[in-house]
């Protein structure tokens, strides 16, 4: 009910559910983590791993099983948590589906200095971000000239020019295999 930090699961504070019901939902969701469908079986996981950490440089911002960057969501389970269609959308056009805790923001200091990062928390008096150097910063709004809530994700669009359809299939297969391993370990 409080969400899961570092994952795509937000808090469900408005949910009309007792703790027992929440656990029942969790148990049900775990039954949904199954083998890949025929469509999901496309691609080659080993090639996908190479693309993920190499050409596509996904690991600069994303963590997988303890390795990689912190600026974007941890992708260790994403391959089993999202449909193939959703993942393709999120990779091809990431600005259409940004996740809470990773909204891009630019802080403009009173002297005009600009700091870019992702918003971790905020309230009427302060804002907390991770900047592009992965530093966690807390700034009082009274020290800022402006807080620019960006509409474009820090992640670039991975169109076919950056990632061919075949490479995308490989990356998805890699994430699926990693996700299945993570889900099994979590049971």
């Amino acid at each position: 009910m409080q969400g899961i930090p570092g994952t795509e699961m937000p808090a469900a504070q408005n949910a009309d559910a007792t703790p027992d019901q929440v656990w029942a939902v969790i148990a049900y969701l775990r039954t949904l983590v199954g083998p890949a469908s025929g469509e999901d079986a496309r691609g080659n996981a080993q090639s996908g791993e190479t693309v993920f950490w190499g050409k596509a440089a996904c690991g600069q911002c994303h963590m997988v099983r303890g390795r990689g960057g912190r600026l974007g969501p941890d992708l260790s389970r994403i391959g089993t948590a999202r449909s193939r269609r959703a993942l393709i959308t999120e990779i091809r056009t990431p600005s259409t589906s940004m996740t809470a805790g990773f909204w891009p923001v630019t802080l403009v200091a009173r002297d005009g200095r600009r700091t870019r990062g992702v918003r971790k928390a905020e309230d009427p008096f302060s804002i907390q971000i991770m900047d592009t150097s992965e530093r966690l910063l807390s700034v009082d709004r009274s020290d800022l000239r402006e807080v620019v809530q960006e509409t474009r994700s820090l992640m670039p669009d991975y169109g076919p020019d950056r990632l061919t359809d075949a490479e995308l299939d490989d990356v998805l297969r890699y994430l699926r295999s990693v996700g299945q391993a993570a889900s099994t370990a979590g049971k």
Partner: protein, 535 residues
């Protein structure tokens, strides 16, 4: 109860009884005794949430500090306003837990928990909004649609009566309102297609005195605004506490959305008395007048928001008014003697109605129409405001409300009615990338104009409180309880409590020390000036 607590209580009673050299009795004694307390949901019958206490001021509020916290230890959030009488705090919580606390220290005196049925039809949270109290009795409504009376010294149940059948979708979260010899309560369940009502019960016996149906049966006044048998499942919940004017002998209560919420074709007509405020004779439950804010609502814009009563001067003439900031995004000032509309103006962005016409009806825009293809409308389903309590300070003449600037995509489609099941007839979708924002807004009820605002990053559900020292206290979604200068909106103080505030702050005095208390998540936080020591 500790010996010290008993001693203070006895001394307090003695002082109250001899105030002014005369022996006071009955209600007068109780009022004198509880001059520094908080004895009803909204602090007074007028619903103003305005305290006469002045120890905490704009000059010293910056030194406000936490004195104690009480963690309920139960799942779910607090939406209640606690009561404080004779130094004891009475609090209700999720799943009809309830507590009595030493208001000076936060220590628990007793804990009550109701055994609830396993399957309840609750649309919007297993919450409760507070007790009503008279003498040594506390009164609470329950999620299984009962009204219970508790012994304030032990938490033991004195009597327990059914309001209506929970299996049909009825539930109750409202704090009762005590008026004369009656307990006035409302009901929830419009999302399950119940037929709404307001009930009055005898305060001694729990016997029902009258019931006012918010959806009239055929042949009764207002029934011509329904077709067929849609009235049987027409909604019109009454889930937030109303107000009372003793000089007019009228109780004012807001009513909720018609059912089904979105598919209006299932219920052609204006659907009286949904989304209205009704003025009822408290002795008989007879309707004196009504004003409908959203005829034939399709956006779930309940009009249950706490009405606030005040006497204002408008165009040079004194007027007895009722003020309300509505979920539909408009702020209204009505003459509470007869329901005449005096002012209506949007206090948030509204795209469904151009304005409210001279005849009191909204002039609709295209965005009011919804269907299976979806329509973006502002405000969203949560509304321009919601159950979070507004407040009014007679000295500043301003109405303080938590405003929500939000829009959503609304869908409508047919749905078969099944008793005891959700009956929405539609869906609501957030707009990606447009989370909206919130604000504390101060509205001049004479002009309807926003005098000042303080913005919040997120749409919030925290209530407000005003004091005679000129302060406004408010809570917001990211966890801050805040104090402002009520005249200017200047931010004076805040504390990050660590959980969203879904209740209104309240204030009271114990042993000469003023406390401000607010519920944050599942914790009660009590604040006071560090140097305002007990005498």
């Amino acid at each position: 109860m500790t010996r010290a607590l008993i001693r203070r209580s006895i001394v307090g009673v003695f002082l109250a009884l001899v105030i002014g050299g005369a022996l006071l009795s009955g209600v007068a004694a109780q009022q004198a005794q509880n001059a520094g307390g908080w004895t009803t949901y909204a602090g007074s019958d007028s619903g103003q949430r305005h305290s006469p206490l002045t120890q905490i001021t704009p000059a010293n509020v910056g030194r406000l500090a936490v004195q104690w916290m009480f963690q309920t230890g139960v799942a779910g959030r607090l939406e209640a306003t606690p009561l404080v009488v004779d130094g004891i705090m009475y609090l209700t919580g999720p799943d009809n837990h309830a507590w009595a606390l030493d208001a000076r220290t936060g220590r628990q005196l007793w804990h009550y928990r109701r055994q609830l049925p396993e399957r309840l039809n609750i649309c919007c949270g297993r919450v409760n909004r507070g007790f009503a109290m008279r003498g040594d009795r506390l009164y609470m409504t329950t999620l299984d649609a009962h009204l219970v009376a508790l012994d304030s010294r032990t938490g033991n149940v004195l009597w327990d009566v059914e309001i209506d059948d929970y299996a049909r979708g009825y539930t109750a979260t409202v704090a009762p309102l005590i008026v004369k010899d009656k307990l006035i309560v409302g009901i929830a369940g419009a999302e399950y297609g119940v037929r709404g009502f307001i009930d009055a019960f005898d305060i001694e016996t729990g016997k029902r005195a009258w019931r006012f149906w918010t959806v009239p049966e055929p042949g009764k006044a207002g029934s011509n605004t329904w077709e067929g048998d849609a009235w049987r499942r027409g909604g019109g919940s009454t889930w937030v506490t109303g107000a009372f004017d003793p000089t007019l002998n009228l109780v004012y209560w807001g009513t909720g959305n018609p059912a089904p919420d979105s598919f209006g074709d299932a219920r052609p007509g204006d659907n009286l008395y949904t989304d209205s405020v009704v003025a009822l004779d408290v002795d008989t439950g007879t309707l004196r007048w009504h004003y409908q804010f959203t005829p034939h609502d399709v956006h779930d814009w309940d009009a249950v928001q706490s009405p606030i009563l005040a006497d204002l001067t408008i165009n040079g003439a004194p007027r007895k008014v009722l003020m309300t900031a509505n979920r539909n995004g408009f702020f209204y000032t009505l003459d509470r003697t007869d329901g005449t509309l005096l002012r209506a103006r949007p206090f948030v962005r509204t795209t469904w109605a151009q304005e409210v016409g001279r005849d009191g009806r909204p002039i609709l825009l295209e965005a009011n129409r919804i269907g299976p293809e979806g329509t973006i409308t502002c405000p969203d389903v949560g509304g321009g405001t919601n159950w979070m309590s507004p407040s009014f300070n007679p000295a500043t003449g301003l109405f303080y409300v938590t405003a929500r600037e939000t829009c959503a995509r609304f869908y409508a489609f047919p749905q078969q009615f099944l008793e005891g099941h959700m009956y929405w007839g539609g869906a609501v979708e957030n707009i990606p990338g447009e989370p909206g924002y919130g604000a504390l807004r101060a509205i001049d009820p004479v002009t309807g104009l926003v005098r000042w605002e303080f913005k919040y990053p997120k749409p919030s559900f925290g209530g407000t409180l005003t004091t005679a020292s000129g302060l406004v206290f408010a809570g917001e979604e990211d966890g801050n309880v805040m104090a402002f200068d009520g005249a200017t909106g200047k931010h004076l103080w805040h504390l990050q409590t660590g959980a969203s505030l879904r209740a209104a702050p309240m204030t009271f005095t114990v042993n000469g020390r003023q406390f401000v208390v607010v519920a944050s998540g599942g914790t009660v936080v009590a604040l006071a000036l560090p140097d305002a020591r007990n005498p």
